[in-house]
C-alpha cells in the first residue's frame, strides 16, 4: 500500500497496534495487533462487548494513550514517537472528544467549559466562538450555569459544543449516550451528527448500541483486542 497516498486520503491510520498495561496481577494485553484505516470525513463505529478493547483503541487513536507497539497516524500526524506534551499539543489542535460521563470541569460555567480548547490554543475569540457553539447546541440561555446546575442531557450538549468548538479534524465519541435516557440520547446523537457534518470532521464512535452504530459509514466489531468483523452501512 502506498503510505503517502493513504495518509493524504486518510484521517486515521492504525497499523498492527498493540497495547499492554501493567497491573498488580501482571501485564494485561488490551490490544493485540489492530490495523485500521479511516478516511477523511468518514464516520466509523466500534462495536463490541465490555473489555473487548474498543475504548482503548479510541484512546490510542486520540493520542490519549501511547501504543506499546505499532504505528498510529491521525490527521496526517504520526503519533508514534510523540512525547506527552507533543501529544497534548496534537490533541488541542486536531481532536475533539465526547465522553460518556461528560467530564465537564465543575468549577467552570458552561461558557468557560466550551472556551477551554480555544483558550488552550491561545485564541483571542475563545468566548465569542464558545457562545456561538453553545447557541448551536441550544444552550444560549445556559451560558453562566455550572455543570451541577444542568441536566445530564444539557451537560452532554455542553460537552458536544466543547468537542467541536475548535473545528477538529477528528471527533471521538465514547458511548456518548451511555448516561442518558433514550429520548435525550437520540437528540444528542442527532445533534452530534449534524455538528460533525457542519465542521466536516471524521467521526470515531465507540458504542455498544447497534442502532447508533448503524448511522455510521462503517461498523467495526471488536473482540479480545482485535477487530474481528467489518460491516458496511445498512
Amino acid at each position: 500500500m502506498d503510505t503517502s497516498l493513504r495518509t493524504r486520503a486518510s484521517s486515521i491510520v492504525i497499523e498492527d497496534v498493540r497495547l499492554t498495561l501493567a497491573s498488580t496481577a501482571g501485564p494485561v494485553n488490551i490490544l493485540n495487533g489492530v490495523s485500521l484505516e479511516v478516511r477523511k470525513g468518514e464516520a466509523v463505529a466500534l462495536l463490541g462487548p465490555s473489555g473487548s478493547g474498543k475504548s482503548s483503541l479510541m484512546m490510542v487513536a486520540a493520542g490519549l494513550e501511547k501504543a506499546s507497539a505499532g504505528r498510529v497516524s491521525v490527521a496526517g500526524r504520526d503519533l508514534t514517537g510523540l512525547d506527552e506534551d507533543e501529544l497534548a499539543r496534537f490533541r488541542r489542535a486536531h481532536v475533539g472528544i465526547v465522553f460518556q460521563s461528560f467530564h465537564l470541569v465543575p468549577a467552570m460555567t458552561a461558557l468557560e467549559n466550551v472556551a477551554v480548547p480555544l483558550e488552550l490554543l491561545n485564541r483571542g475569540d475563545a468566548f465569542t466562538k464558545a457562545e456561538a457553539a453553545l447557541q448551536a447546541v441550544g444552550l444560549a440561555h445556559r451560558l453562566d450555569h455550572y455543570p451541577g446546575q444542568l441536566s445530564g442531557g444539557e451537560q452532554q450538549r455542553v460537552a458536544l459544543a466543547r468537542a467541536i468548538v475548535h473545528e477538529p479534524e477528528v471527533l471521538f465519541a465514547d458511548e456518548p449516550t451511555g448516561n442518558l435516557d433514550g429520548a435525550t440520547g437520540a437528540a444528542i446523537v442527532d445533534l452530534m451528527f449534524a455538528l460533525r457534518a457542519r465542521v466536516g470532521a471524521t467521526l470515531f464512535l465507540v458504542t455498544h448500541e447497534d442502532v447508533l452504530a448503524e448511522r455510521c459509514d462503517r461498523i467495526l466489531r471488536m473482540k479480545d483486542g482485535l477487530i474481528v468483523a467489518e460491516d458496511g452501512p445498512k
Binding site: L21, S55, L64, E84, A88
Partner: protein
C-alpha cells in the same frame, strides 16, 4: 504558547477554580498560617527587644561610654575622660549586709558605691521619693543606703533602720523602685544596695586585693562618637586595660542572649512550620486527588503537563499567599499581645512595634515551605494521564513525579536550611538543630513504616473490632505515616525539652551540690586563712577546706599579637573578653591533671613567670607548651611562658583557674584569698552564721542558694521553650485533623456499609476508639523514642551532664499523644456514627 500566555491562562483557570471557595484548603491555610505566625511572632518579639536595647542603650548604660576594670582610673585617665564629657564613677562589689543587733542575720548583697554625678542619664526612683544624693548622705554616725525590697525581706528590716556593711553602719533611707542601669548588672546573687563613695571608704571593704570593679560613665558634652572615643583612648593609652562598652551595644550579654533565644525559638517555630507543612502537603494532595477528573479532562482537551502544574501551582500559592498575610498579621501583633499581658514583668526594655525584617523572613520561610510541600503532589498531578478518565484500576497512576520537580522541592527545603544557618547568630547550633529535626523526621517515618509493616504481619485477629481497627491503620492510603510523623515531631520536641529539663534539674539539684563546695568565702585576707580554716574545721560535716590566692587578670596578648587581633576560635573567645581568675602555686594543686608538658615547676623556682594553662583554650588560641601569653593584672602586663597544659573539669564547681602562675612576681601584687568548703546540710546555717560573725569583711556565698537562683532562671527558660513546642504540637494536631477530614467520605461510606450489615453505633465507636487510641499511642511512642535519642544526645554530647529519664515526661508524651488523637478521632468519627444508612444510600 509563550510562557507569559501560559501564565495568563494559568491565572485565568485558577481564578475560576478558586471561585468555589477555600473549603478544600482549610487545613492548608491553618497549618501554614500557624507556622508563619509563629516565625513572624518570635522574630518580631526578638526585634522589639533588640530595638528597645538599641534605642535605650544610653539610658541602660548610664552614658554614651562605659569603662570598667578591677582598679581605679589614674588621674591622667580621669582627665582624658573629662575631655569628652561629664563623668560619673562607681565601684561594684559583692558583700554582706548584717543586722547590727544580730550578726548572724546576714545577706549577700550586690553593693554599688556611687559618686555625686551618678546617674548621668536616666532617673533613679526611690520610695519615699528623694534625691539620691540626699538618701546616701553621710553624717558622723552613719551613711545612707538605698536597697532593693528583697534585702528588707531577707533581713526582716525596714526603712529607717540601720544595717552593717563591712565595718560601716548604714541607715536605710529608701527603697529602690527603679535603677536606670539595673539591666547592665546582669545575673546577680543578692539584692542591690547603693551607698556613696564615702560610705564605701567607711565600710573598710577597700582592702588589698578585694574584688572590686571600678566603672566610669561618660555623657558626651561635645560632638563626638563612641568610635572616636575608642580610637582616641587606644591612642592615648595603648596599654589600657579598660573594658569599654558604648551606647550602641550597651549590654552585649543581653543582646547576645536575646539573639540566641530568638534563634532557638525561631527554630522551634520553623519546626512548627515543617510539621504544619506535612499537613499542608497532605491537604494539597487530597485537593489534587479530588481534581483528578478535571485534570484528566483538561489534558484530554490538550492541556500540557506543564500547564496543569502551573494552573494548580497558581491556586495553591494564592491560598499560601492568603496564609502568609494571615500569619504575618497574627505574628506582627504578638509583641503587642506580650506587652499587654506581660509587659510589666519583663525587665529588658522593648520597643513594641511592627518590624518589616522578621515579617519578610517569615514570609520567605512560609513561601519556601509551601513550595516544598506543594511541589511533590503537584508533580504527581502533572503526570495524571488523560486515559484515567476511562480507567484507573488496571494501571493506577503511581508516578512520583519527574526528578526535576522532586529536586525543586528538595531545593526549597535546602533554601530554608541555608537561610536559617546564614541568619543564625550561632550557625553550628542551627545546623545541629536542623540535622536533629531532619533526623527525627526520617526516624519517625521509618518507625511509622516499621509499625505498619509489623501490624500487617500480625496473625489474623479473632476480634472483629480489633481486626477492623487495624485494617483502618494499614489499608492503602491510610494516613498512619503522616500522622505519626507530624504529631510525633511535635510531641518529640516537647519530650526532648521536658527530658532535658529533667536532666538539667537533676544536675542542678542533685549532681552539682554533691560535687560542688557548699560555700565560697571571698575577700579572705592572708592572715584570715588560718583562723577561717580552723573555725570551719570545727564543724563535724565540714571537709575539703581549700583556700587559694586569687587575683583578676585579663589576657592581653597571645604570643606577640594583641588578644583583640589574635586568631582565636569562637569557643575560646570568652577567655579574652574580660577579666579571669588567676592564682599562683608553688606546687601542683592536688586535683590538677597535667596532660602536656612537665608536671610542675620546682617549689623553689625563681625566674620568669611560668603558667599552667587550660588545654582546650590553648588549642583554641593555637598555643603550645613554650609559647607565651601576656596578662594584665592591676594595670601591669606580665608575660607568661606556658609550662604545661591541664585538662580542667569545670563541672566540679570548685575554683578552677585557667591560669595558675609560678610565684615570684605575681604574689607581690595586692590580693585576697578565696576559700571553699563542703559541709552537710545540717551545718549549713551554723557555718554561715559563725563565719559571718567572726569575719565581717568576708563575703559568704551559699552554693545552695545560688543554685536555687540558677534553677529558677532555667525554669523560666524551659517554660518559654515549652510554650513554643506546644505550637508545634498544635501544628501536629492540625495534620491529624486534616487527615481525619480527608478520610471523612471514605469513613462515612464504610460506616454506612457496616451499619447496613448490622453493626451498631457502639461497635463502630469501639473500632474508632481502638484505631485512634492505637494511632496516638504509636505516635506518642515513636515521639518518645525520638525524644529520648535527642535528649540523651544533647545531655551527653552538648551539656555533658548525666541523662535523667523522667518517667512523667515519658508518660505524658505517650498518654498525651494517645488521648489527644483519640478525642480528635472520635470527634471526627461522630458524623459517621450518626449517619443514617437509608439517606446515604439514596444520596451517595
Amino acid at each position: 504558547m509563550s510562557a507569559s500566555a501560559n501564565l495568563t491562562l494559568a491565572f485565568r483557570f485558577a481564578r475560576r477554580e478558586l471561585r468555589s471557595g477555600l473549603a478544600g484548603f482549610r487545613i492548608f491555610l491553618a497549618s501554614l498560617t500557624l507556622g508563619v505566625a509563629a516565625i513572624a511572632g518570635v522574630g518580631s518579639l526578638g526585634q522589639a527587644f533588640l530595638t528597645g536595647l538599641d534605642e535605650q542603650g544610653r539610658t541602660l548604660l548610664g552614658g554614651d561610654i562605659g569603662l570598667q576594670r578591677l582598679y581605679p582610673a589614674e588621674e591622667k585617665e580621669r582627665a582624658f575622660m573629662a575631655r569628652f564629657g561629664t563623668v560619673a564613677e562607681f565601684a561594684s562589689l559583692r558583700s554582706m549586709a548584717t543586722d547590727p543587733g544580730d550578726a548572724t542575720t546576714r545577706a549577700l548583697i550586690e553593693l554599688k558605691a556611687v559618686d555625686a554625678a551618678y546617674p548621668l542619664v536616666g532617673e533613679m526612683t526611690l520610695d519615699p521619693a528623694m534625691p539620691l544624693s540626699e538618701a546616701l548622705k553621710c553624717d558622723q554616725l552613719a551613711c545612707g543606703a538605698v536597697v532593693e525590697d528583697a534585702l528588707l525581706i531577707r533581713l526582716n528590716t525596714k526603712i529607717g533602720n540601720t544595717i552593717k556593711i563591712g565595718d560601716g553602719a548604714f541607715v536605710i533611707r529608701a527603697r529602690i523602685v527603679s535603677e536606670p542601669d539595673r539591666v547592665v548588672g546582669g545575673f546577680t546573687l543578692g539584692p542591690h544596695v547603693m551607698i556613696s563613695r564615702e560610705g564605701l571608704s567607711r565600710s573598710g571593704l577597700l582592702t588589698p586585693g578585694s574584688l572590686i570593679s571600678y566603672s566610669y560613665r561618660i555623657a558626651f558634652t561635645q560632638e563626638t562618637t563612641p568610635d572616636a572615643f575608642r580610637t582616641a583612648e587606644a591612642a592615648a593609652f595603648p596599654q589600657s586595660s579598660f573594658e569599654i562598652t558604648d551606647r550602641t551595644n550597651a549590654i552585649p550579654r543581653v543582646t547576645r542572649f536575646i539573639e540566641q533565644a530568638t534563634m532557638f525559638l525561631s527554630l522551634v517555630a520553623l519546626t512548627a512550620l515543617v510539621v504544619g507543612g506535612v499537613g499542608a502537603g497532605q491537604s494539597v494532595d487530597a485537593f489534587l486527588q479530588r481534581r483528578r477528573s478535571t485534570i484528566a479532562t483538561l489534558k484530554a482537551m490538550g492541556a500540557s503537563g506543564g500547564q496543569i502544574f502551573l494552573i494548580y501551582l497558581v491556586q495553591i500559592m494564592a491560598v499560601a499567599g492568603l496564609a502568609l498575610v494571615l500569619g504575618l498579621a497574627i505574628g506582627s501583633v504578638l509583641p503587642f499581645f506580650v506587652e499587654y499581658y506581660f509587659g510589666a514583668d519583663i525587665p529588658a526594655p522593648a520597643h513594641y512595634g511592627v518590624y518589616a525584617g522578621p515579617l519578610f523572613l517569615a514570609a520567605a520561610f512560609g513561601t519556601l515551605a509551601a513550595l516544598g510541600f506543594a511541589i511533590p503532589p503537584l508533580a504527581r498531578a502533572r503526570e495524571i494521564a488523560p486515559a484515567g478518565l476511562f480507567r484507573d484500576l488496571v494501571a493506577p497512576s503511581a508516578s512520583r513525579g519527574r526528578l526535576i520537580y522532586r529536586l525543586a522541592a528538595v531545593g526549597a527545603f535546602v533554601a530554608i536550611g541555608v537561610l536559617s544557618v546564614m541568619l543564625s547568630p550561632n550557625p553550628r547550633f542551627t545546623v545541629g538543630f536542623l540535622a536533629g529535626t531532619v533526623g527525627s523526621l526520617v526516624a519517625l517515618r521509618l518507625i511509622a513504616y516499621g509499625l505498619k509493616f509489623g501490624l500487617t504481619a500480625l496473625p489474623r485477629r479473632r476480634s472483629q473490632t480489633l481486626r477492623l481497627a487495624l485494617s483502618n491503620l494499614i489499608r492503602p492510603g491510610a494516613p498512619t505515616t503522616s500522622i505519626v510523623v507530624a504529631l510525633g515531631l511535635g510531641l518529640s520536641l516537647l519530650a526532648t525539652v521536658v527530658l532535658i529539663q529533667a536532666s538539667v534539674a537533676g544536675e542542678v539539684e542533685d549532681q552539682l551540690p554533691s560535687r560542688m563546695p557548699s560555700f565560697y568565702f571571698a575577700d579572705v585576707q592572708q592572715d584570715e586563712v588560718e583562723p577561717l580554716a580552723k573555725l570551719v574545721g570545727s564543724y563535724a560535716t565540714a571537709k575539703d577546706f581549700n583556700a587559694t590566692p586569687m587575683l583578676r587578670g585579663r589576657i592581653v596578648k597571645i604570643k606577640d599579637v594583641a588578644a583583640a587581633d589574635a586568631n582565636i576560635d569562637a569557643d575560646s573567645r570568652w577567655a579574652v573578653n574580660g577579666d579571669r581568675n588567676v592564682t599562683y602555686a608553688s606546687e601542683a594543686p592536688k586535683d590538677a591533671r597535667v596532660v602536656e608538658g612537665p608536671n610542675w615547676w620546682p617549689a623553689d623556682y625563681e625566674g620568669p613567670t611560668l603558667v599552667s594553662f587550660d588545654k582546650n583554650l590553648a588549642r583554641g588560641m593555637g598555643l603550645k607548651v613554650g609559647d607565651t601569653i601576656t596578662i594584665n593584672v592591676q594595670g601591669r602586663d606580665v608575660e607568661l611562658k606556658i609550662f604545661n597544659l591541664r585538662d580542667i573539669d569545670f563541672r566540679t564547681g570548685g575554683v578552677n583557674y585557667i591560669l595558675i602562675l609560678s610565684p615570684g612576681v605575681i604574689d607581690k601584687a595586692p590580693h585576697s584569698y578565696i576559700a571553699t568548703v563542703r559541709a552537710g546540710q545540717t551545718d549549713d546555717e551554723a557555718i554561715f552564721a559563725a563565719v559571718s560573725k567572726a569575719f565581717p569583711n568576708i563575703t559568704v556565698v551559699s552554693v545552695r542558694e545560688a543554685l536555687a537562683k540558677v534553677g529558677d532562671m532555667l525554669a523560666a527558660l524551659v517554660k518559654g521553650t515549652e510554650i513554643a513546642s506546644v505550637v508545634t504540637i498544635l501544628a501536629g494536631i492540625l495534620v491529624l485533623a486534616g487527615a481525619i477530614a480527608a478520610g471523612h467520605h471514605a469513613r462515612l461510606y464504610d460506616a454506612v456499609v457496616l451499619k447496613v450489615l448490622g453493626a451498631t453505633r457502639s461497635r463502630l465507636a469501639s473500632i474508632y476508639a481502638l484505631e485512634y487510641g492505637l494511632l496516638g499511642t504509636l505516635a506518642g511512642a515513636a515521639a518518645l523514642a525520638a525524644g529520648l535519642v535527642a535528649a540523651w544526645s544533647i545531655a551527653y554530647f552538648v551539656l555533658e551532664i548525666p541523662f535523667v529519664l523522667a518517667g512523667e515526661a515519658a508518660a505524658f508524651t505517650v498518654v498525651g499523644g494517645a488521648v489527644g488523637t483519640l478525642v480528635l478521632g472520635l470527634a471526627g468519627g461522630f458524623a459517621a456514627l450518626s449517619a443514617k444508612p437509608a439517606r446515604r444510600l439514596r444520596n451517595p
